[in-house]
Amino acid sequence: MTIVFLTLSAITVLGALLAVTLRNLVHCLLALVLFFMGIAGHFFLLKADFLGAVQILIYIGAVAVLILFAIMLTRNISGTEGGRGSLGGAWWLGVGIATTLAGAMCVFVRRSDLVSKLPYGATEEGVVKEIGKLLVTDWVVPLEIMAVLLTAALIGAVVIALEEEKKR
C-alpha cells in the first residue's frame, strides 16, 4: 500500500510541478492532466471510487478540455511563449511564500496528533447509493443551490465570452 501511495504521490507532485514550471502552455495542460490522474488514483486508493470516477469525468473530461479551448482561443497555436512569469524579480517572492507555507504546514502536521492515525475499516460497498440518498435528503438544499450556481455559471460564462456585436 505504501509503495502504491508513494508512486501515486510522486506522479501527482511531478504533474503539479511540471504544470507550474513548463514554458509551453499545452505542455502545462498535459502535466495538469497527469496531476488530475494522480489525484483520481488517490481517490481510488482511498476507496472513494465514485469520487475518482467523477474526478476523471469532470476534470479530465471537462475542465482540461475547457482550458484547452481557452489556450487555443487566446494563444498562438503552438502554445509557446507561455513563459514562466518573472514579475519584475518578484517570482522569488512567490516561491518563497509557497515554500514557507509548505514548511509551516509540514511542521503543523508533524505536531498534530492525527499524524499516525490509521484508517477505519473500508466501507466502499453501497457508498454510491448512500451518496445518492443523501443528496436528495439531507443535502438537498446545497444540491439545489449547486444547480442554480452551475446554471448561473453556464449562462455567465456564455455571456462573458460571447463576442460583442460589432458596431457597424
Binding site: 471510487d49 478540455v65 454510491v128
Partner: protein, 384 residues
Amino acid sequence: MDAIYKLIQHYAPKIPDLLALALAVLLPIAIVMGVFLTVFALLTWVERKALGRIQNRRGPNRVGPVGLFQPVADGLKLLTKEDIVPAAADKVVHFLAPVLTVVPAFMVLAVVPVAKGFVPVDLNIGVLFALAVSTGSVLALFMAGWASRNKFSLLGAMRSVAQVVSYEVPMVMAAVVILMAAGTLSSVGIVEAQRGLAGWFVFKPWGLVAFVIFQLCAMAEVARTPFDLPEAESEIVAGYHTEYSGFKFALFQMGEYVAAITMGGITVTMFLGGYLGPGSDLPKIGWLVSAGWFFAKLGIIVVINIWARGTWPRVRVDQLLGFAWKLLLPLALVNIVAMAIWHFASNKLVGWGASAVVLAVAIVALVKINTGQTFEKRSYRFIS
C-alpha cells in the same frame, strides 16, 4: 479476480501466494486482451468486406481464404514501415499520443461483463468508470493533432475534442435512465437487472429512446462514419493522425476499433441484456453460452455500425453539434422524466403507455422545432 485466486489456491495450493495473486490479476487481463484483439482484427476484416459488398465491390480476398488473414498482412506491413516524425513535431507528445489512445479503450474493457461470472473487475461504479475513462481518449487525440504541427491535424484534433465533449453529455444523460432502472452502477448489476421475459431495457419505451441516443453518441464518441469529422478524409486529409505512419498509425487504428468494440460492449451491457439469453444460466456450460450471447449481441451492434458507415454521409460540423445539443440532450432529459413516470405508475401498462406518449410528443416536438429553421444565406468574406 477473487474467484480465479480462489480457484488457483484450491487446485494448486503449492503455488506461492504472490504468484497466485499475480496470476489472478494477469490471467483475466491476458484473456480479455487476447479475445478483444482477435475481435478487433476480425472486425477490420468484416468491416472492409461488408463495406465492399455494400458498394458492390469484393473487399479483401487475397490473403488467405476469403481474405481472412488481411489483418495479419496489414499489421505486418504497418510494423515494418518507416516511422516518420515531422521535424517540427513535439517529439515526446507525438510519441505518447498513440499509446494514450489505446489505453482508455482497453481500460473500459475492465468493467465489461463478457460472460456470466466473468468480468475482469466488478467495480461498484462500473458504468460511470467506463464513461469517464472513455473521455480520456479525447486528450490523446488532441495531443496527436497538436504535436504534429500540422494544420489538418490540429483541425481534426479540435473537431474531435468539441465532438466528444458535446456527445458526452447526452450519452451520460441517456445512461442515467438505465441507472435509475437498475438501481446500481455496477455493470454486472445492470445486466442482472434485465432478467426476465423481455426484460432487456431496450424493450421499454424509455429504454429504446435511451438506446438510440446512446448508440448515436457512442458512434460520435469513437468517430464512426456519420460523425467521423475528426478524420474526414475529403476535408482534412486524415485529421489528427495525418502525420503518423507505421506502428503508431496502427495503434491509432487499434485504439479506434477497440474503442468502438468496447462502446458496443457497454451498449450491450446496458440495453441488450449483456450476456443474458436462453441457456446462459445452465450449470456447466452457462459461461460459454452467455459469452456466445454477449458476442452475438456485440455483433449486432457492430453490424449496425458498419451498415450506418456504409450508408450515411458525413454530417457538417454545425449539424453535428446542433444534433447533440438541440435534439439528443433535450430528448435525453425528457427521457428521464418518462422513466420517472414509468417508475411511479400504478401498474405496468399505464406506465408503458404514459412514458411512450410523453416520449412520442417530445420527439415530434423536438423534430418540429429543429427542422423548422432555415439557414441564412452565407456571406463570404472575399466576395464583396
